[in-house]
């Protein structure tokens, strides 16, 4: 059974896409209906769906940013009301997309194409997306420099560059520094969009690690790895999705 993730911020549009997909593709299962880009990315890591429908304009990570992170991990179909520039690039790059409001005949064709290629490895849209992302209005360019963390009765200001790693702790995020640690009230999935991706690598659904703090990577068995840090005893597991970061 094909697994599908849908990311669309407007409830009625989400309802529409879900309903139409259920009718047109009874053999598929919708594993998550995400309301924003952050949930979409987090849900992708949790469910590892084969097909992802991404609205381009969403709060948090944009659809293009989520697709860039997914890389060749799933078959991506973009959904947009009107982003002429992106649509032209999709046409040129043979990328699947749907125009909102989604009409049944158009969705039917998209489903037929997906059914035909779902057993094959997905295409990597990396280059196309890195280029497109910067041209879309509202593209986030500012990165987080400081974090506010409550420690007892104090509010601590943490320089992001000093953080060794971030670890998800249900609704909070554990921020680990060389000599101390703190909890921030933002979940990890809502934090990662504001962090520099070249500096903080995601190695697990719940872990972001500062590349500068990595001492070594250890192979546990054929599938599993763990990261060893400078100035910290803790060992951080690397999930299967991210082991490619450490392969030669």
């Amino acid at each position: 059974m094909t697994t599908i993730l849908i990311a669309e911020d407007e409830p009625l549009m989400r309802e529409r896409l879900v309903g139409m997909l259920a009718a047109l593709w009874p053999g598929a299962r919708i594993v998550l209906e995400a309301e924003n880009g952050n949930d979409a990315w987090d849900g992708y890591l949790e469910y590892e769906p084969e097909v992802v429908f991404l609205d381009i304009r969403m709060p948090g990570l944009s659809g293009l940013e989520v697709a860039e992170r997914i890389g060749d991990g799933a078959h991506v179909v973009f959904v947009t009301a009107y982003d002429q520039y992106a649509v032209e690039a999709f046409d040129a790059g043979a990328v699947d997309y749907l125009l909102k409001p989604v009409q049944a005949d158009r969705l039917e064709r998209a489903v037929a194409r997906l059914q035909a290629k779902v057993s094959q490895p997905p295409a990597d849209l990396g280059d196309l997306l890195r280029h497109l992302k910067t041209t879309l209005p509202g593209a986030r360019s500012e990165k987080l420099k400081w974090l506010k963390a409550t420690v007892g009765r104090q509010i601590r200001l943490i320089d992001v560059d000093e953080v060794l790693f971030f670890q998800s702790d249900t609704k909070y995020t554990r921020v680990v520094l060389p000599d101390s640690e703190a909890l921030v009230r933002t979940p990890l999935k809502d934090l990662l969009g504001g962090l520099d991706r070249d500096r903080f690598w995601q190695i697990h659904r719940g872990t972001l690690v500062n590349v500068g703090a990595i001492a070594a990577v250890e192979r546990i068995d054929a599938e599993r790895m763990q990261v060893l840090l400078r100035g910290c005893e803790e060992k951080l597991p690397v999930s299967r999705t991210f082991t490619h970061l450490f392969r030669d």
């Binding site: 009107y82 909102k100 409001p101 209005p137």
Partner: protein, 408 residues
């Protein structure tokens, strides 16, 4: 020979007319005297050039010669009168003198008419040239009579004071009308220039105003807004939800108000708030629980006139840059009050705040421009962080109503 002369004259005339129309062509004229002359033409103000060009076109070709013939006839008649009233002049002398004097004065007056700025600015130089010219002429005549009629040098020297006297008198008589014409024309041209500038400024403002309104309208019927809203309507209709009709009604109200406001400069605050309410209900239908809003306009302010689409633009901005990018959404609060006699309209959102979406001020620039066009310095738009979100505040002067009505 004559043919060549006529061709040359035609060419020069064409060249000058072309330069009068487009001064940039002066650089292409033949170097030498001709370029020097057209460069003078190119330095005139556009208004002066236009008048001179109109005159040149009116008196082009044959009409010029007829005009000159008529004038010569008139001056000759003056010469006849001169001869009959003063015995001193012979027939020929009187007619010649009248023509020379007449054409000299006329060309001086024409120069003053069309180049008043130059003539009035250089009146001292002109007076010196004129005086020097007459004295030189007198001395030349003295020299000729010395050589031909063997007048003794002493006689010539004796006549010098008289020569200087008549040169001064000639100067005064010749230059006075030129300067009077010049000064009259300069005043007239200045007034005309000021008037033209004022007209151009008014036209520019009107154009900017309609452009700015068009930009606001375009923001409202933007494809993302329309397609997403239509998608919501389609989904509700497919479900058979009664909300489909309500959403359509709000969309219609909003679009209708947008199109009619486009043609109006001002609307009442009650009208503007009704449009905003329709817009926010549409957005709420689409965004669901992510959007909350409240609108509050006191009855006393309902009839206050405000620039059309202005507060709406602020609300759209709050949605676009505050609520839409926010993960949890937020609320929009719109209110109007009177403070110190001024109308203060506030649009507050609890969205992501200014630092999260930097650099996008096109909508706000538009609002500021509209305010400046309608009220000058008297109105303002302030924006500040409200944590969470942003508060925008428009302050309209107490005399807003009067100023707007005058403009309209």
């Amino acid at each position: 020979m004559l043919r060549k002369l006529i061709d040359w004259y035609d060419e020069v005339e064409r060249e000058q007319l072309a330069v009068l129309e487009n001064p940039a062509l002066a650089a292409q004229a033949k170097p030498g005297l001709r370029r020097y002359f057209v460069s003078k033409l190119a330095n005139m103000t556009p208004l002066e050039r236009k008048e001179l060009r109109d005159f040149c076109i009116t008196y082009q070709g044959r009409r010029l010669w007829t005009a000159i013939a008529k004038l010569a006839l008139g001056f000759s008649l003056c010469g006849v009168v001169l001869h009959l009233s003063l015995d001193k002049f012979s027939w020929l002398g009187a007619i010649l003198t009248a023509n020379i004097l007449g054409f000299t004065l006329l060309s001086g007056a024409l120069a003053a008419w069309f180049d008043a700025r130059y003539v009035t600015a250089t009146k001292r130089k002109l007076a010196i040239y004129c005086f020097a010219g007459i004295v030189a002429g007198g001395l030349g005549a003295g020299l000729v009579s010395m050589l031909i009629q063997s007048t003794p040098l002493a006689d010539v020297i004796q006549r010098l004071p008289r020569l200087f006297g008549s040169a001064a008198a000639g100067c005064a008589i010749g230059l006075a009308p030129v300067l009077i014409v010049g000064r009259y024309r300069r005043r007239k041209l200045q007034a005309l220039t000021v008037q033209l500038q004022r007209d151009a400024e008014a036209e520019r403002l009107a154009r900017e105003l309609s452009e700015s309104k068009l930009r606001m309208l375009r923001a409202q019927i933007e494809p993302h807004f329309l397609f997403n809203t239509l998608g919501a309507v389609q989904q509700l209709a497919a479900d058979g939800a009664p909300r489909a009709a309500a959403l359509t009604a709000d969309l219609i109200a909003f679009l209708r108000a947008s199109f009619s406001d486009m043609r109006r400069e001002q609307v009442t605050l009650a009208n503007e708030f009704a449009t905003i309410a329709a817009y926010l209900r549409v957005m709420q239908a689409r965004m669901g629980k992510r959007l909350d809003f409240s609108l509050d306009v006191p009855d006393a302010l309902a009839e206050t006139q405000v620039p059309s689409m202005l507060v709406l633009t602020l609300v759209e901005n709050a949605i676009k840059h505050g609520i839409e990018p926010s993960l949890r959404g937020g609320a929009i609060l719109v209110g109007a009050v009177v403070e110190d006699g001024k109308t203060v309209i506030r649009v507050r959102d609890t969205g992501v705040g200014m630092s999260a979406t930097p650099g996008d001020g096109a909508g706000l620039d538009n609002v500021r421009r509209r305010l400046a066009l309608a009220y000058g310095e008297a109105a303002r738009l302030d924006l500040h962080d409200a944590d969470p979100g942003v508060a925008a505040e428009v302050v309209l002067p107490p005399a807003a109503r009067i100023a707007l009505q005058e403009a309209a």
